[in-house]
Amino acid sequence: MARANSNVRKSGRRHPLATVALVAIGLLVTGGAYAGFTQTSATADVDLQSPETIAAGQKLFAANCATCHGMNAEGVVGDSPADTSGPSLIGVGAASVNFQVGTGRMPLAFQGPQGMKREPQFNEQQTLELAAYVASLAPGPGLPDSQYLQGDGDVANGGTLFRINCAMCHNVAAAGGALTQGKFAPPLTGVAPTHVYEAMVTGPQNMPVFNDANISPQDKADIISYLKFIEEQPAVGGLTLGSIGPVAEGLFIWVIGLGIIVAFTVWITAKSN
């Protein structure tokens, strides 16, 4: 990198590494400032009820979300599916916004079978401001209480509930699975407990809703504990091959296993030279 830069800048009087140094200093300053900024304004300090937060959220919303969801989050009805039309967000609650924006699914990267997880476009502060604005429009599911997100619940109960309610789509090892027409249930490894909780409450995209009458907050905490448990537990059976079951295992044994057998057969029957 340094050499390539120095070649380009050969004619100048500056030291060949000056550009690199400048970029490095710039990055450090920006990164440091950013880190300081996020540290001071992180998480629980944002008051979702305060008019300032809601006003800030409204500005962000108008700039980033209103094209599809409408200026007042009332939704846009398109003439054709190709239109940038989004559903109404009135009553979806802070939990839904925090999940969709916090996991990077919204703003949508591109039209497709389903919104994809990616690097979030907004920082935590901005996400919460957006959540505060949408929550101010109509009552909806709020952000989960941190006591349910610690992962210290009843793992066995969480496992039972997970197998009854979640495993058919998300796979018993939470490795995710295919749905219809390009849609899929994502793997649940590496997902923040708060996003898992919010997904259960709000039912994002094609996931059904699991409200508190169906799975109580404590049961949700148990499910989160179970997910944490299976994520931290080493795979004692050796290679998991993605834990996605017969497809990966079948592919492995048909290609590698049979390949070895065929290779041996060819070697045994070939004439020695």
Partner: protein, 357 residues
């Protein structure tokens, strides 16, 4: 070389009598001529003493490697004990013992094949098949033995004894066939059992808590739009055979926007405010259909990808299933709990012979 001479000339080398009768087989006069063996090529190990030595070294090295593998497996057993019960320790134990044993057996096999291919005598030879029949005197003797035995035992003469023995042998397997009756439920008509479930008028819908467990009854107000509940009859615990009854009675409860529901006039009363209940047993081969997509309203069966449209009477929209999922007619009681109006109106699950009778 003499060896090559035998290779090219394929003179019949019969055993004993030489000429073998063709029997009833059609012997074609223009049969394909035996082309004989292809010319023999010498291997490098036949021509080069050094290469032969090298092959020898490879072979015994492999056998020594096998010994090392065996000893390694024994050592791995000692150095990675499973007594601690620690899962990672067990993983290492299995892995290293397995690698040792694999090496032990695989090296013997590879060594033996390498030995055979590179060092052992490699001249092709022909050996004719032995005639299947024994020679005449032997056959004569065996026939005589049979005759003598028949005469001495009276097998042909004492017909009553013989026939009663045949009867006993025929009767012997009967108990085994009778035992198969136990595969069907006792004192009950299997067809009736398949046609009915535990659901009947007034039975409350309760949460499935896994195994034989029954959670609390479900109120209509608990079921918000987009919700899905996995449901069993509240009185499931009263059943004699809980798991069998559960397997038939499992239901998926979903609430849609009532505007999205397409219901024929006669089934309008089967749902309640957009809450619908469908059998969870796939009509194809009976897997639990539970992959529910909230917005497309599709239910996907994970076994063979049958898809049912919940908004349109669970009709099949894709896959091998031929019939919609049976709907459970539901309503609410005075306390607001969801209850069944009746049993399913048709047998749940895959087809069986007497299904439509």
């Amino acid at each position: 070389m003499a060896e090559e001479a035998t290779g090219n000339a394929l003179a019949p080398q019969g055993h004993g009598t030489g000429e073998v009768s063709a029997g009833t087989a059609v012997v074609s006069s223009d049969a394909v001529q035996n082309p004989g063996f292809p010319p023999h090529h010498h291997r490098v190990t036949d021509l080069d003493e050094k290469k032969a030595k090298r092959a020898e070294r490879v072979t015994f090295t492999l056998f020594y490697l096998s010994v090392a593998g065996s000893l390694g497996a024994v050592l791995a057993y000692m150095f990675f004990p499973i007594e601690t019960g620690e899962l990672m320790q067990i993983r290492l134990h299995t892995m290293f013992v397995g690698i040792g044993m694999t090496l032990a057996l695989l090296a013997i096999g590879i060594g033996a094949v390498h030995w055979g291919k590179s060092l052992m005598h490699d001249q092709e030879i022909t050996e004719d098949r032995h005639p299947v029949a024994s020679d005449e005197p032997t056959r004569q003797t065996s026939a005589e033995i049979f005759e003598t035995a028949d005469k001495e035992s009276g097998f042909s003469r004492r017909t009553l004894v013989r026939n009663s023995l045949f009867g006993a042998l025929i009767a012997f397997p009967l108990p085994g066939i009778t035992l198969l009756r136990s595969l069907a439920p006792q004192d009950q008509d299997p067809v009736e059992l398949l046609k009915h479930t535990m659901w009947k008028k007034g039975v409350r819908l309760a949460r499935d808590t896994g195994g034989a467990g029954v959670g609390g009854a479900i109120k209509a107000t608990d079921v918000t739009i987009g919700s899905v509940f996995h449901v069993v009859p509240e009185n499931l615990g009263d059943a004699v055979d809980v798991l069998n009854e559960k397997a038939k009675a499992i239901v998926l409860l979903m609430r849609l926007d009532p505007q999205d529901l397409k219901e024929p006039e006669e089934k309008k009363s089967w749902s309640y405010n957009g809450i619908v209940a469908y059998s969870k047993v796939c009509t194809h081969v009976g897997c639990p259909v539970a992959l529910n997509e909230q917005h497309t309203h599709h239910l996907l069966c994970p076994c063979h990808q049958s898809q049912f449209d919940v908004s349109d009477q669970a009709k099949v929209v894709f896959g091998p299933a031929k019939r919609p999922l049976p709907q459970l007619p539901i309503t609410v009681d005075e306390e607001g709990y969801l209850i069944a109006q009746s049993d399913f109106q048709e047998p749940v699950g895959p087809s069986f012979w007497e299904r439509v009778k």
